[in-house]
């Protein structure tokens, strides 16, 4: 069974481009200009924070500085001692892995991406998925396990008790009971957060609530077989696992 990886929005090899204005500065003035610029406009490029501010020009005595968008040039150019302004095309989305960063580097100096998307897949995942498919139950089911296979937790939907007990939430409760047990505390002490370095395999895509619960539990990888019609949290439209504001990211693989 082959899985497809869920990639962030706008992921492709060649970047989409956007027009920026660049200033050509004498090398002696560089520090002065940077100081003044950061004082006045330090949040200006907050959406493009992967671009470095300074690049060495082709001529020795000059330095190139990222300045602004074309529409703001008339307002902003007054206070700076600048030789020349000109427009260039730069990537408009941050790179997500090393290969993509190398392509981007031809355009401008790029910061190293802080999270990478390896193409490696878990060996056991297809087996566990087949195990779920073989049970032929109408309720959604999930399996949570770690790499050494010494913790394996199976859980089912319990929505007859209340609407919030989806299989992921039930699995987290079972994992907590496992960790509370004195004999099994080794795993918990080592990794501190509750499902770190663990993998989840489930039939239906986790909903928004479950995908956030997985972020709270610091999971590593998620595999699912079928997409949800409504309230799915890990599809092309809403990718909770890749959101910039949240404090954890994980890998998602899917079948269809």
């Amino acid at each position: 069974m082959q899985f497809q990886q869920l990639m962030p929005v706008g992921y492709m090899k060649q970047p989409t481009l956007k027009t920026f204005v660049i200033a050509k500065i004498k090398k002696e003035n560089t520090e002065k200009c940077i100081k003044l610029y950061k004082q006045k406009y330090h949040q200006y490029f907050y959406q493009h924070d992967y671009l470095k501010l300074i690049k060495q020009g082709q001529e020795k005595d000059y330095v190139l500085m990222l300045f602004c968008f074309p529409e703001d040039l008339d307002k902003m150019k007054l206070d700076f001692e600048v030789e020349q302004f000109f427009e260039i095309q730069l990537p408009s989305i941050a790179p997500i892995n090393k290969e993509q960063k190398q392509i981007y580097d031809e355009y401008w100096n790029i910061l190293h991406p802080n999270y990478e998307y390896p193409h490696k897949q878990n060996k056991d995942a297809p087996l566990k998925m087949q195990q779920i498919l073989d049970t032929k139950q109408t309720r959604n089911k999930c399996i949570l396990y770690n790499d050494e296979n010494d913790i394996i937790i199976e859980a089912e939907d319990e929505t007859h008790i209340n609407n919030v007990r989806h299989c992921v939430m039930v699995a987290m409760e079972k994992l907590a009971e496992h960790n509370k047990n004195q004999n099994n505390q080794k795993h918990f002490r080592e990794t501190q957060y509750y499902a770190r370095e663990m993998t989840l395999v489930t039939y239906f895509e986790p909903c928004i609530m479950c995908s956030m619960a997985l972020i709270h539990s610091r999971i590593k990888e998620v595999y699912y077989y079928q997409k949800r019609v409504v309230d799915g949290g890990l599809n092309d439209q809403l990718q909770i696992n890749n959101m910039k504001q949240l404090n954890h990211k994980y890998l998602v693989f899917y079948q269809h």
């Binding site: 409760e173 994992l175 501190q192 957060y193 539990s217």
Partner: protein, 158 residues
């Protein structure tokens, strides 16, 4: 029953008491109270229990839902901090009537800060300063349940 502003503040203070109880138990100080919409009686109250239960999904809203095991169409929730994305969606599933909260949750807020998920009416900004203060005090001391190297703590000024 029509909720007046004094009533809301009264219930928010009860939620703050729960948060204070949580802090005494070395949990993240967030607390909540659920009342009946018709007669104003308190049905359930809880505080976060993530560290003691070793389960990161045990936020106070989820604990209340799991204790009650029914739909809450006739209930109002008061909570000190804006519900996170997980709790906001869970409150959608159990069809809660409305939600009142204290401070915004700039990291995970699901009622408008990070995502706007709520299908129920929700109102923020009650006792905002007190709710924020109790969280700030907790994080300045540092979360004692986490080992020293993993703590997010402000560096002390010299």
């Amino acid at each position: 029953m029509e909720l007046q502003k004094e009533d809301i503040l009264k219930y928010m203070k009860l939620a703050l008491e729960q948060a204070e109880l949580g802090r005494q138990n070395k949990e993240v100080p967030v607390g909540c109270v659920i009342i009946n919409r018709n007669d104003g009686k308190i049905i359930e109250k809880a505080y976060n229990n993530t560290n003691k239960s070793k389960n990161a999904t045990q936020h106070c809203e989820i604990i209340c839902i799991n204790r009650m095991n029914r739909d809450l169409e006739d209930c109002i929730l008061f909570v000190t901090c804006e519900p996170c994305i997980m709790c906001a969606q869970a409150l959608n599933y159990i069809k809660i009537h409305s939600v009142y909260y204290g401070c915004n949750n700039s990291r995970f807020g699901g009622n408008g800060t990070v995502l706007q998920l709520n299908k129920y009416p929700s109102f923020g900004g009650y006792l905002e300063y007190d709710c924020m203060k109790i969280l700030q005090d907790f994080y300045e001391e540092g979360n004692e349940n986490i080992e020293e190297q993993f703590r997010h703590r402000k560096k002390q000024k010299q």
